[in-house]
């Protein structure tokens, strides 16, 4: 028996269950078509949105798209739901929740207090009936500030991850890209390397190198080697200097199993990193990456649309008080997000849902060569996300990641958006950039002409 229905000019559209209603209300994207759960026509899609808009928000506490008994992410969402925080919106439908979010009543402190009262499905549902400008406007009002050796997410600021990957993890090659990024003012979110090898020895070598660079040049930032969480736990066991624990996560228990993780191992890793007490201004020690389509690609989506699955990943993330969370929005490929239009919408949805749920969202604004996308699409998404108050974006030399073979945002891109929107780096990091002479003295964020002395000395040895 279909539980949900909506009539448009005499045509009755029926939706078998809540997850079907959510899937059919989702803006068109290739992954939901691949899964066979997308709306069959544009009219059906809007009919689903109309039915969704009439649904009381509280429905999502009674009916879950993935059964409580089968999935620890569902149990996390339900068991940790804060009914008191939910109270201010508990009487609203999804449609009126959108209206309320756009209203002046939904200001920064109100939204921060509401976050623990929202479930990922509520955030996903309302995002499906929001336009791009709605996603930007509301996300801009959600502030999520985190700290480790600097403070990320403050109003008027945007940080960057310096991503100095190298095809064979060669430390000198990594160091060369680090210099490139630092000299362009990047690296306050994290200096984060994706290693080519998962070998614990390689990972430890890179961790020691990053730690030594940060210490020697007194950079107020944190390092991370983005390897599997169990490898990082092993590295901590070998006394490696771990600032942040990285892990890719998804929104279902079985998709996380595909990544080789569960909630227990994430908790174990967080405890291990906290025990090192390496933060100076805060103790957010986790770094998560997510992306629409990961549950489907692991055949672990339970018939739930990819955007709702993605929002559920943020429930996993917020449990562990992360410093950084970013969707890697265009990495997965055209079978999930076909073109620039789909990638753009997905990036803004992810940022909105994450922020609404209280997650410190950044975004890897990116694409692969088999997607219908190019640098113009990335410029547009970067600009929209920065307008929406994204916590950080990536910085890759010349946009070309020579290890992972995809294109992301560059150090130059970050300076472009700083210039256009007046966004500043994390305050502690900006002070360092000025002190060491990467930025010229003065209020404006202008790059200095000369190489700072410590770096000039380091490079002089190469002649």
């Amino acid at each position: 028996m279909p539980r949900y229905a909506h009539t448009v000019d005499g045509t009755r559209y029926r939706f078998a269950d809540l997850k079907s209603l959510l899937a059919k209300a989702t803006p068109a994207r290739s992954g939901d078509h691949l899964a066979g759960i997308a709306a069959g026509s544009d009219e059906e899609r809007v009919a689903a949105r109309m039915a969704l808009a009439e649904l009381p928000l509280a429905t999502f506490l009674d009916e879950v798209p993935i059964p409580y008994e089968e999935d620890e992410v569902t149990r996390l969402i339900i068991d940790e739901h804060d009914n008191t925080a939910f109270a201010p919106v508990s009487h609203l439908t999804v449609g009126d929740f959108r209206n309320w979010l756009l209203s002046e009543a939904a200001d920064e402190p109100t939204l921060a207090a509401l976050a623990p009262g929202l479930t990922p499905e509520m955030a996903a549902a309302v995002s499906k009936i929001m336009r791009v400008q709605d996603l930007i406007l509301v996300a801009k009002k959600c502030r999520v500030v985190t700290a480790f050796r600097n403070t990320i997410g403050l109003a008027g600021h945007m940080a960057t991850r310096l991503q100095p990957n190298h095809p064979t993890d060669d430390p000198a090659g990594v160091a060369a890209s680090i210099v490139d990024g630092l000299m362009y003012g990047c690296g306050d979110a994290v200096i984060g390397v994706n290693p080519a090898s998962d070998n614990v020895h390689t990972v430890t070598t890179l961790l020691r190198m990053l730690d030594a660079v940060i210490a020697k040049y007194r950079i107020p930032t944190q390092a991370c080697v983005l390897t599997h969480v169990t490898t990082t736990i092993e590295a901590i066991g070998r006394s490696a200097p771990v600032d942040l624990v990285f892990q890719s996560i998804a929104g279902t228990e079985s998709a996380n199993a595909g990544f080789g993780v569960n909630l227990a191992v994430l908790a174990e890793a967080r405890d291990a990193a906290l025990s090192l007490r390496r933060g100076t201004v805060g103790d957010h020690v986790m770094y998560f990456e997510t992306g629409q389509g990961s549950a489907l690609s692991a055949n672990a989506h339970h018939g739930v649309d990819q955007q709702t699955c993605e929002a559920r990943a943020y429930a996993v993330a917020r449990k562990f008080k992360p410093l950084l969370v970013n969707t890697v929005v265009g990495f997965i490929g055209p079978e999930y997000l076909y073109d620039g239009k789909q990638i753009t919408r997905a990036g803004l949805e992810d940022h909105f849902c994450g922020k609404l749920l209280g997650v410190p969202m950044g975004c890897d604004v990116c694409y692969t060569n088999h997607a219908e996308a190019d640098q113009d699409d990335m410029d547009a998404l970067l600009t929209l996300l920065a307008a929406a108050g994204v916590n950080y974006v990536m910085g890759v030399p010349g946009s070309d990641d020579v290890m992972l073979n995809y294109q992301s945002t560059s150090f130059h891109d970050a300076l472009y958006i700083r210039q256009v929107l007046g966004l500043r780096p994390a305050p502690e990091f900006e002070a360092w950039l000025r002190d060491i002479g990467i930025f010229a003295p003065g209020e404006a964020l202008a790059l200095a002409q000369d190489l700072p002395a410590p770096f000039r000395h380091a490079l002089a040895k190469l002649d």
């Binding site: 290739s30 078509h33 691949l34 100095p164 190298h166 064979t168 993890d169 060669d170 430390p171 000198a172 090659g173 990594v174 160091a175 060369a176 890209s177 680090i178 210099v179 490139d180 000299m183 362009y184 070998n199 390689t202 070598t205 020691r208 190198m209 660079v213 020697k216 040049y217 490929g333 055209p334 079978e335 076909y338 692969t368 060569n369 088999h370 190019d374 640098q375 890759v396 030399p397 010349g398 070309d400 020579v402 073979n405 294109q407 560059s410 130059h412 300076l415 472009y416 790059l447 002409q449 000369d450 190489l451 410590p454 770096f455 000039r456 000395h457 380091a458 490079l459 040895k461 190469l462």
Partner: protein
């Protein structure tokens, strides 16, 4: 040579670091943006990578060249009718269209005895990879497979193909293992990279964990002869141990693990 005073481009003072990495570092800047020359170089690389994705495999040229070498060749298509569908429906790229299946079934051995190995040349995400690397690779590989030791199925050229199409092909031809040469997803600086996936006793639904992969075969990447040695080693091991995939570790890959890399570098060696 431009006089530096004549150009608004501000060069980066660390250009000598380029020796350490293929990354696009020290591009210089126009204001704070990417200078014109670097921007156009990037666009050229992206254009080549996209052309690689959308280029149709020149099957006639390939068939002729293989026939001249005395090989029987079959050409097949996946169930994905065009590139746009192929890119969005990996499930269709994993199975044969029915016409191809019928034609291929006619090439089974007369006594229906299994072939030892089926070799498939598949466009994947870069037909350039096949056009530039497949023939040199076969010229190196096939002499390593004497008829006395290996009963080879007819060579198969496959269009709109994913890796798992090889499973459908092997089942249809009745082959005990399949080696599929396939164009890898083009990188910005590697539009023609060839990958080879070997699968023992392929079936419909075989997962990637049951395959062994040799990646990055191209002029600037893994050498053809080295790749042929690796594949032969994997084929012999797969046949004798009757398995492939994660439990079949490729010992010849040891040089890949450059673990001796020093933890130190120019940034750390000394500071005044």
């Amino acid at each position: 040579m431009d006089d530096p005073a004549d150009t608004p481009v501000i060069p980066d003072a660390w250009a000598k670091l380029r020796r350490f990495t293929p990354a696009r570092i020290a591009l210089g800047r126009a204001g704070t943006s990417v200078p014109t020359e670097a921007q156009l170089a990037f666009q050229l690389a992206h254009a080549r990578a996209r052309d690689a994705v959308h280029h149709s495999l020149a099957t006639d040229v390939l068939r002729t060249a293989l026939a001249q070498r005395g090989h029987t060749v079959a050409t097949v298509r996946s169930a994905a009718p065009d590139r746009k569908t192929y890119l969005q429906r990996p499930d269709l790229g994993r199975r044969l269209d029915e016409t191809s299946r019928t034609a291929l079934a006619a090439l089974k051995a007369a006594d229906d005895a299994p072939f030892d190995v089926a070799i498939v040349l598949a466009d994947g995400l870069s037909a350039f990879a096949i056009e530039q690397n497949a023939l040199p690779f076969l010229d190196a590989m096939l002499p390593r497979l004497p008829a006395s030791a290996w009963k080879l199925a007819p060579l198969v050229v496959a269009e709109q193909s994913r890796v798992a199409l090889g499973d459908d092909i092997a089942v249809t031809l009745h082959a005990r293992m399949v080696a599929i040469l396939i164009g890898e997803r083009p990188g910005l600086s590697s539009p023609d990279s060839l990958g080879i996936y070997l699968t023992w006793q392929p079936r419909i639904g075989t997962t990637d964990a049951q395959r062994n992969c040799i990646s990055n075969i191209r002029r600037e990447g893994l050498d053809i002869d080295l790749a042929a040695d690796k594949l032969l080693w994997l084929m012999n091991e797969a046949r004798s141990r009757q398995l492939s995939g994660v439990s079949l570790k490729d010992d010849t890959q040891a040089p890949h693990e450059r673990l001796a890399a020093p933890a130190t570098n120019f940034l750390l060696d000394s500071l005044p």
